[in-house]
């Protein structure tokens, strides 16, 4: 276990280095003098001069990268020119909102995806199976911002049940918070439910045809018990780890969903930064997301390893 852990930890180092190079290079795509572009529309000479010095633009590229990397490693992701705040502080401020959204979305995805996958595998090639597959295809093919707009049309405009947009902190009003979050969370969860359903179906089909399930059935066990206790428990491990990797989809989706429902989270932060040409924020958000993804990937791998005794041998 320790050897595996060490080896696995070592592989993420080069990945992180390349992620940082990739994100640093984004800046090189800007046309002309980065300091002038980064200074925004006013092009205040003092700001340009300040940026010139801060970004070490007189130094060669590799040296600039090292300066930038030193900042990143010590938690300095740069500064938002528009909001006059460190990028890291902005991320810390917006992240909880998106995390709440992501958690509710994941919960919805699990509630829909896993039972649908089980039913589809157990009742293979029946109407249930086809119906579940249609729902999965729908989830994979619907642009989530459109689904969001349609839900607003139905639940907010026509029925008047839910607020069309806005965010209420759960500390202010839990009820208001849930009312604001339920539609965006469903929109996000919908796509992930489809992926989970497909994973569950194939994992269950594999497990259901294995010897020990046949043995359990031969012993005369109740079919419900066979499916839920013997099969599902073993199928669940790969589903959970694969589910963890849907984190990227969740964050990508959050960008659009937060835009549709005007939720002041992580996704809205990057979109606003793009419009304000607040490039340091864009870089910071991408860097943070990629690092989080790599760490989550590692955790999922380790969980899989820990849950699977055959791999530990």
């Amino acid at each position: 276990m320790t050897a595996y852990l060490a080896r696995r930890l070592l592989t993420i180092v080069p990945t992180l280095v390349f992620v940082s190079i990739l994100i640093f290079s984004l800046q090189q795509l800007l046309p002309g003098d980065p300091a002038v572009v980064l200074a925004g529309e006013d092009r205040d000479p003092s700001v340009v001069a300040y940026l010139h010095a801060k970004l070490h633009l007189d130094e060669p590229l590799p040296v600039r990268y090292l300066y930038w990397l030193r900042g990143v490693v010590t938690g300095d992701l740069g500064e938002s020119l528009r909001m006059q705040k460190p990028v890291l502080a902005l991320i810390e401020e917006k992240l909880p909102v998106t995390l709440e959204l992501a958690l509710i979305a994941m919960l919805i995805a699990l509630i829909i995806g896993i039972p649908a996958g089980i039913i589809s595998a157990v009742k293979r090639n029946t109407v249930w199976d086809y119906a579940a597959n249609v729902v999965a295809l729908w989830g994979l093919s619907t642009p989530n911002f459109w689904l969001g707009i349609m839900l607003i049309l139905f639940f907010s405009v026509s029925l008047g049940w839910l607020p069309a947009s806005g965010y209420v902190s759960p500390f202010e009003s839990l009820r208001g918070n849930l009312a604001a979050m339920i539609m965006p969370a469903f929109v996000l969860g919908n796509a992930i439910a489809a992926v989970l359903m497909r994973h569950t179906r194939s994992a269950m089909l594999q497990v259901l045809s294995s010897d020990y399930v046949r043995t359990a059935r031969a012993k005369g066990l109740d079919e419900r018990k066979v499916v839920l206790k013997h099969a599902l428990r073993n199928a669940l491990t790969p589903i959970i780890t694969l589910g963890a990797l849907e984190f990227g989809t969740l964050l990508s989706g959050a960008v659009l969903t937060e835009q549709v429902f005007t939720i002041p989270g992580f996704g809205k932060l990057i979109v606003d930064a793009v419009f304000n040409r607040d490039y340091a924020v864009v870089q910071g958000v991408v860097l943070f997301t990629a690092t989080a993804y790599i760490v989550l990937n590692l955790v999922a791998d380790l969980a899989y390893f820990a849950a699977n005794p055959r791999l530990r041998a």
């Binding site: 964050l251 990057i270 490039y279």
Partner: protein, 293 residues
């Protein structure tokens, strides 16, 4: 007599080229045929847009602002009196173009780099694989948004951004396929006969890894169409007044309480096109699978 007919049938099946066999299998799947038909329909609409669209897609009319669907404007009109149907028809061009061009960009980079990584192995493979890992660590759409933000908003830049963001998927797939094919006996035989590396890669490896790439490319077009719509929705794709489904939805969102038709049709179009590419991709996966009869 029956044996003879059966023999003939087997013989004709054996003479069938792989492409023809895949085509025959594809046509057996109703969902794939539906997908193919809708894709072809959208291509026809995009090509014939000037002939089909009843109005000029950018022509504004102050006397027809946010008019509900009627005999004159089947899909209604938008906030500055443009015909929604005409804009949906012309929008098919931006979506299909973005889907196909982005995936072409990913293939143009991903295929050669993946071939190199898989065939060369060693440190070249190690380096390429780490870079691929790094790119895959950035969520697809977030990377595309960042690239589009730094490149500047336009349809061309959106296609480049989507293409680059999707490249690592193709590098990884190509590499994995090369790894499994390069140990086959016919590759060994070609090497023993003294074929050059380039010859082995292009004549013996490449043709055998095409089927999974076709499947992935089809599914990637579906993802690219959604990505283009997403970038346009955020204002990073096709710029107004040129029509695109994503930017139409962006405006429609503001008028959802009094002109819902502005949102329904462009969204439905994205959904149908993406669904069709997904169905076609799933169908191709089964049709190109050599394990199936």
């Amino acid at each position: 007599m029956t044996t003879a007919t059966a023999d003939l049938a087997t013989a004709s099946k054996r003479d069938e080229t792989p492409a023809r066999r895949a085509w025959r299998r594809l046509l057996r799947r109703r969902s794939a045929v539906f997908g193919l038909a809708v894709v072809v329909l959208f291509i026809a609409i995009a090509l014939a847009a000037p002939l089909i669209a009843p109005f000029d897609p950018v022509q504004t009319s102050w006397s027809a602002i946010r008019k509900a669907p009627s005999a004159e404007h089947l899909f209604g009109t938008d906030e500055i009196g443009r015909d929604v149907l005409s804009r949906v028809v012309w929008g098919a061009r931006a979506s299909l173009l973005a889907g196909v061009v982005s995936v072409a960009i990913s293939l143009a980079f991903g295929l050669p780099i993946g071939l190199l990584a898989g065939y060369a192995g060693g440190w070249v493979d190690g380096l390429i694989s780490r870079i691929t890992d790094a790119m895959l660590a950035c969520p697809f759409l977030i990377l595309a948004i960042a690239l589009a933000a730094f490149l500047g908003p336009s349809l061309t830049n959106a296609m480049i951004a989507i293409g680059i963001s999707a490249t690592p998927i193709f590098i990884r797939l190509t590499r994995a396929q090369v790894l499994s094919v390069k140990v086959e006996e016919y590759v060994e035989a070609a090497r023993a006969l003294g074929s050059s590396h380039l010859n082995i890669v292009l004549r013996h490896i490449l043709p055998n890894i095409v089927p999974p790439l076709i499947v992935q490319a089809t599914l990637a077009i579906a993802a690219a169409v959604i990505a283009e719509a997403s970038l346009s929705f955020l204002g990073l794709g096709q710029q107004p007044p040129a029509p695109s489904w994503g930017s139409m939805l962006n405006t429609a969102k503001n008028y959802i309480d009094n002109a819902p038709w502005m949102a329904i049709w462009p969204g439905l179009s994205i959904f149908l096109l993406v669904l069709s590419f997904n169905l076609l991709g799933d169908g191709l996966r089964d049709a190109l699978d050599p394990r199936q009869g």
